[in-house]
């Protein structure tokens, strides 16, 4: 009897399980997290690491943020083009030169498209490059230290938007102008834009060992807007492709005037051919002014050099190097598939996606299938370069990424969705909504021959109700999708910082192994380093006072300083003597007109203080460094300008 009861219960239980299964299938369609284990797919247990790094541009923050995938956790904000009080970047004497330009010191930038360095067409995780849109610059970030180590200004450019994409051996990082301008800049009527303004596409060479950047040449193109770009790869390595809009060359109300032509162009640039021309002395050196800022990890100091000329190349001087591929309706994204065969141009105002064939392009060039020319540049016949088009996939196509298995994923701003489609057959396989109005999307290993797949994330421009409200200003939202199956699956919604435009992502293992833990104190070659207490001193040069100071848990040396006068310019040169992972010290002094310093183990950083008031002012460590952090403080005595208080410094006198 007992057994009978048991089995009846079991059968009942099984029946319940059966029906609940049906329920879960239903709720699965409504993204019921528990029903289909979605939560587990993004869960990274405490202490465990994410599988991928994502480097997401900060847009108007000027910076680059580092995230983990699939958790969507933010690990770091790397300051690039903007002053960053959190670390003192752009405030410390050592890093101020990083933000120097031909327009003077600029405390802010608009960062857009990060791209990771490559070797043989694969992401190598050594450097990441990112463009500044407003005052055209390209930055290099070293992925061993996650610090910005170089920034080069781009002359003759304006709205540096079709940037900063690297070729498959990081031969070049390429920066194209969005706004055409007079080249060289001059005083002229705006209405004379047409035929007079030019668009510079800059090929910045990258020295293999340290990644040092140098503008090899600038191609001076017709006065269109160069919107986005990507390198050829595999069979199309050696070419670079740029979308253009405003081929109408309008200078006012572009929303109407730049939408007149039925087709604009994708410009195809044979950079190998131009490189050869330049290597043989081609092009002309033109006077220019642009800053090249380099951060040295041994002196912990940046230097800014003003360059005085740049090599420019006129496309008509290098026949066979530049062609135009007609592409409908103001194309925005310009994306090349992993094989290098397909070039996707997403016409913002077109209902279809246009895909060009590299093979057909070469054939059209060889057989001179031209449809006229623009400013001496041959226009290839649309039908002869077209590989196919994706019909009516959505509204407002922007950007495309690839999974390495023959599929492409395109974002649609107006219809707020990502559409998965097949290369070659152009059929739509799946579509998933985004929240809301998606811009770029990223697949780890994108812009390479070997995308790493697994996940895709969409970066949206509009957040509205996705999170708890925070007043009128909201952080932008991103959505993470699992793309390992036929259909995309929404896994996670996470807030991002600033305005993410593009992002670069890759498997974590390579970067993780190389990440630096400390700077070697022995190798510190800073001019004002104090490598032990014996090196500490205070030196007066007129009204300049240099304090050579050290920090170690949990004191400053010296921590009592006297003999400073109102009107002095006081430099605190603080060396962190620690050689222990993750033990920075901070420095701040009352009334300082700049940010604190955050000094990494083995590093020296300097802060200027110009005291305006007589008194005894405290300074302290701003980073909770140790058990005795609250004791890590000191005093500096400021006397009247005419006082005779002698210069004196000490630490640890009169211990009770």
């Amino acid at each position: 009897m007992k057994n009978l009861l048991k089995s009846t219960l079991a059968i009942l239980g099984a029946l319940v399980a059966f029906t609940s299964c049906n329920n879960s299938a239903n709720s699965g369609g409504k993204s019921g997290a528990l029903a289909s284990n979605i939560a587990e797919k993004v869960y990274v247990a405490p202490g465990e690491h994410d599988e991928f790094y994502a480097f997401i541009s900060g847009g108007y923050s000027g910076n680059l943020t580092v995230y983990g995938l699939p958790s969507g956790r933010m690990f770091k904000e790397i300051p690039v083009f903007s002053q960053f009080p959190t670390s003192g970047y752009g405030y410390s004497e050592e890093t101020k030169p990083m933000l120097n330009t031909s327009h003077g010191f600029i405390p802010w930038g608009d960062s857009h498209h990060p791209d990771i360095s490559q070797t043989n067409g694969e992401i190598d995780g050594r450097f990441i490059f990112i463009n500044e849109n407003n005052t055209p610059r390209i930055a290099k970030i070293d992925l061993t230290t996650f610090e910005t180590t170089e920034i080069i200004e781009v002359p003759n450019s304006a709205g540096n938007h079709s940037s900063s994409f690297v070729t498959e051996n990081t031969e070049y990082v390429v920066a194209g102008t969005r706004f055409s301008v007079p080249v060289p800049q001059r005083d002229m009527p705006i209405s004379e834009y047409k035929g007079n303004f030019q668009g510079a596409l800059s090929f910045i060479s990258v020295e293999p060992e340290h990644g040092h950047m140098d503008i090899k040449f600038q191609l001076l193109m017709p006065g269109f807007n160069y919107d986005l770009s990507h390198p050829g790869r595999g069979k199309s390595h050696g070419w670079f492709f740029f979308t253009t809009y405003n081929t109408e060359e309008a200078n006012t109300l572009l929303e109407v005037n730049a939408s007149q032509n039925d087709k604009d162009f994708i410009a195809a640039i044979n950079w190998k051919k131009i490189e050869e021309y330049v290597n043989n002395g081609g092009g002309t050196m033109m006077p220019a002014e642009y800053a090249h800022n380099v951060y040295d990890e041994v002196t912990h100091t940046a230097t800014s050099t003003m360059k005085k000329e740049v090599r420019v190349v006129n496309p008509s001087d290098v026949p066979g190097a530049v062609y135009f591929l007609p592409t409908p309706k103001s194309p925005h994204g310009c994306d090349v598939d992993p094989s290098g065969e397909y070039i996707v141009g997403n016409g913002k105002l077109s209902a279809n996606l246009t895909v060009h064939s590299f093979t057909k392009m070469l054939d059209a060039i060889e057989n001179k299938k031209f449809d006229g020319e623009a400013y001496g540049i041959p226009i290839l016949k649309f039908e002869d370069v077209l590989a196919g088009s994706v019909e009516q996939p959505g509204l407002g196509p922007l950007h495309t990424e690839f999974d390495g298995e023959g599929n492409a994923y395109t974002t649609f701003f107006i219809s707020s969705e990502v559409v998965k489609w097949k290369l070659g057959t152009w059929e739509v396989i799946d579509r998933k909504p985004t929240y809301y109005s998606v811009g770029h999307l990223t697949i780890p290993g994108g812009n390479s021959r070997k995308p790493q797949g697994k996940y895709m994330f969409a970066m949206n421009k509009i957040t509205k109700d996705r999170y708890l409200p925070t007043g009128p200003e909201l952080e932008h939202s991103a959505q993470l999708y699992d793309i390992s199956g036929d259909k995309m699956e929404l896994l996670l919604d996470f807030p991002t910082h600033g305005e993410p435009h593009y992002a670069a992502a890759m498997r974590a293992d390579i970067i993780k192994e190389r990440s630096k833990k400390i700077y070697s104190l022995a190798e510190n070659n800073h001019d004002y380093a104090a490598k032990s207490d014996a090196d500490t001193k205070v030196v007066r040069k007129g009204n300049e006072v240099h304090i050579y100071m050290t920090t170690i848990r949990s004191h400053f040396s010296p921590d009592n300083i006297e003999g400073i006068k109102v009107g002095d310019k006081v430099y605190f040169h603080v060396t962190n003597l620690e050689q222990d992972f993750d033990v920075p010290h901070g420095f701040a002094v009352l009334g300082q007109n700049t940010s604190e310093l955050l000094i990494m183990p083995g590093q020296t950083k300097s802060s200027v203080w110009e005291p305006t008031k007589v008194g005894v002012w405290p300074f302290y460590c701003t980073d909770f460094c140790s058990a005795l952090h609250q004791e890590m403080q000191g005093y500096i005595r400021v006397s009247p300008a005419n006082s005779n208080v002698p210069l004196k410094w000490s630490m640890g006198e009169n211990i009770e």
Partner: protein, 191 residues
């Protein structure tokens, strides 16, 4: 009765087989998650972080010294490893094996017994100052506040700092402080 059992089995299998697509697809994810759940238990704190770039911690230094095997055994018996790799700062007065051997017979063996763990920890903490000072700088002190809440006397004899009657034989800078090798075990004052 047996048939009923069998029926139940058949039923259960049928339910399993007919379960919806979503669940079968997710079966693999569930199993991977279970394995990750077991991992964190192996790690027990900062003492176990792999780091060959940073300067060794005070614990690394003691463990790497053949003159300090007794001290290390004592630290392990008192389970103080994680405290010695902490951000500190830590100044450790590290008695040599000879210093321990100079204690009355049986003292060390006694202290290493599990029931004397607290007494041992108290003695060991009396060898640790929250701070980081060179041998020379120690001459400025009259006493040092130790991690067990008691003070140890500092004297200067023949130009050398003497800590609780012990001489400093050598000093080694550590990532999270400093190790001063001493020739005597410091015994906390009893009151």
């Amino acid at each position: 009765m047996k048939t009923i059992k069998l029926m139940f089995l058949v039923f259960a299998i049928a339910v399993f087989v007919s379960s919806c697509k979503n669940e079968t697809k997710d079966a693999s994810t569930t199993s991977t998650v279970t394995t990750t759940e077991n991992k964190p238990a192996e790690r027990t704190g900062q003492a176990f972080i792999e780091d060959d770039e940073s300067k060794p911690t005070v614990l690394n230094i003691a463990m790497g010294s053949k003159d300090h095997t007794t001290l290390v055994a004592a630290v392990q018996a008192a389970q103080l490893e994680n405290a010695l790799v902490n951000a500190g700062p830590l100044m450790v007065f590290a008695p040599t094996n000879n210093a321990f051997a100079a204690l009355p017979d049986g003292t060390v063996e006694d202290l290493l017994k599990p029931e004397n763990k607290d007494a041992l920890a108290n003695i060991l903490k009396y060898h640790v100052t929250p701070g980081n000072y060179s041998k020379d700088f120690l001459k400025k002190f009259k006493k040092l506040g130790q991690a067990n809440n008691q003070y140890v006397k500092v004297e200067v004899i023949d130009g050398e700092p003497i800590i609780g009657g012990a001489k400093i034989l050598a000093s080694i800078k550590a990532g999270n402080g400093i190790v001063h090798v001493v020739d005597k075990v410091l015994l906390p004052p009893t009151e």
